[in-house]
Symmetry: C2
Subunit: 343 residues, 2 copies
């Protein structure tokens, strides 16, 4: 059993950092595209056999040290009653974003074992099929990020509708964020019960908030979700891309076991700033650097590993892998980590 | 003559910080929309009388302490030979983005007095019409930001095409960036000759680069453009939104007179970090906060002024004003600054 990833989460000694890639079960893999040709994105997410098939692909193909269940952060609002579609080129979209009182009041409370059973079934199946080869990671979207999608209806450049809600009706925003924190926390705990050996919280739109709003509307609910997930007994990774200034607060306030570092943040700087905190770090190669040639990728990956220093570090990209990266380039990144040794 | 803005640029004593708003000549103003109904965006940019009409509107309506010429950062690549259109809802778009060798080789060198004479004419006319009421600001896009638009063809979430060029063909990227730095520097110097009393460089997509790429591909060319502009004798404002981590390098490396602070950055933190540098600061109220009621806007504006401390500070938003903000809310922001006094 390769338990490098779990040891690094706990900051135990390792001979080299473990490596996996955000969005590693994705379109850059030809075998993923083959599955995707037979089924649309939401069918893949909703069908445990298909989700598990693509979950295992990067383990087989690249030899990464952890598998992350193939799913989507928007399954939570979907299970709370919001109709979701994912179109090619457009991305995920809620047909009826939260706008009126009755939109908000119509949201159901989440019962993970019932409403998101297909994700839990996928985790159980993935654990069986992995058969101890590498640990399995579960995940969920953080409350602020889910709320912004639910209010905007889709991704946005400036998130003005969601941010407008924060200043126009902060009470309603807090109410929704608290509900989402409970839902996400319960979902992550259920994922751990179903076999996830670690879970990651993605606050993907953290960068849409300035410090004051982040502290009021994102951080406390991220912390509550982390608390509920940690109570289930597995390490929790908190990742708030675009909010590199907040690393210390993420480590100090959320109590997450691992803090994700985005590619905008200098690796050596992140390490120095979090030296005094008990968290491990995960990241942070710029996914656009995988467009470089394999030799250059190896050089930059080694620089990154050096900057993090090896101990308490999980090697990863600083954001999801781009769909048009050649597999050989992804492999160069993974191999460079696997060949490296803690000095 | 209200020279508050110019005194603050030079960090001279002021009784209160001057105030203006990025994109203050914009769609939130009914009188702007009235002009916009008669002419499309690029016609407004290209017709000095129309550009000057909207340039003066916020001075008349809100009593801001500076006017900024109505124009667009993409006039530079357009003048270098790239066909540009601006469509409602889509934003600016180059019909033939830079992709092949011949696309790059086909770019013309910029002769500002000839190729961008309409901008210089607008500045001359605006100075006459302002008649000393408030200073007039010129502007340009920074080299990296212009290059990303030229390569992508339009705005992007992840700028993968532009970033791909940086790793796949850094020599070509450096060559284009150097040409753009010369073009932008010459353009800003020409704007000063035509009457601009200060100029601002917008590196709007600075946040698309991690520290290493920012230092290699953005900062040196921003610095070169600042140097050329400063040689013309007017203060230069450098603004690199999304790269809050780089404030010290912006101040130390570019030698800009004023450093713009984006809304993601904590104001007190920015002030503390730049205390040892000779630059003034400009910013940084979150434009989304203008959705709050006027009383709340005043409170948050006063908090922001307090955090910057009054001296060497130009009050502004931390990004352009959103088009759907009520004029009364913009006025509450401006009034809150005008009523405040340096402690």
């Amino acid at each position: 059993m390769n338990d490098l990833f779990l040891r690094a989460c706990r900051r135990e000694p390792v001979e080299r950092p473990p490596v996996w890639m955000m969005r590693q079960a994705g379109r850059y893999l030809p075998e993923y595209r083959a599955v995707r040709e037979r089924a649309d994105f939401l069918t893949m997410v909703g069908t445990p056999e298909l989700a598990v098939e693509v979950t295992l692909q990067p383990v087989d193909r690249l030899g990464v040290d952890a598998a992350i269940i193939f799913s989507d952060i928007l399954v939570v609002p979907q299970a709370m009653g919001m109709a979701l579609s994912v179109e090619d080129g457009v991305g995920p979209r809620f047909h009826q974003p939260l706008r009126t009182n009755s939109d908000f009041d119509g949201l159901r409370d989440l019962v993970p074992d019932h409403d998101l059973r297909y994700v839990l079934d996928a985790l159980r199946l993935a654990r069986r099929e992995l058969d101890g080869r590498v640990p399995l990671i579960g995940f969920a979207g953080a409350p602020w990020t889910l709320m912004s999608y639910m209010v905007e209806g889709q991704g946005s450049k400036s998130f003005t509708l969601a941010k407008r809600l924060l200043v126009e009706d902060p009470v309603r925003a807090h109410d929704l964020l608290a509900r989402l924190a409970r839902a996400v926390g319960a979902f992550l705990a259920a994922q751990v019960s179903a076999g996830a050996q670690a879970v990651q919280l993605f606050d993907s739109w953290a960068g849409a908030l300035g410090p004051r709003d982040f502290r009021e509307f994102a951080l406390p609910y991220l912390a509550e979700a982390v608390r509920l997930a940690r109570a289930a007994g597995a390490p929790v990774i908190a990742f708030a891309p675009g909010a590199g200034w907040a690393l210390e607060e993420l480590a100090g306030v959320t109590g997450a076991d691992v803090i994700g570092v985005d590619w905008q943040t200098d690796a050596a700087d992140a390490r120095r700033r979090l030296m005094a905190y008990p968290a491990a770090l995960q990241g942070n190669l710029d996914p656009a650097w995988l467009y470089a040639g394999p030799d250059e990728i190896r050089r930059r990956t080694r620089d990154m590993l050096q900057a993090f220093g090896g101990r308490g570090h999980i090697a990863n990209l600083g954001h999801g892998i781009h769909p048009d990266v050649p597999v050989a380039h992804a492999r160069a990144f993974v191999d460079a980590v696997r060949e490296w040794r803690v000095p």
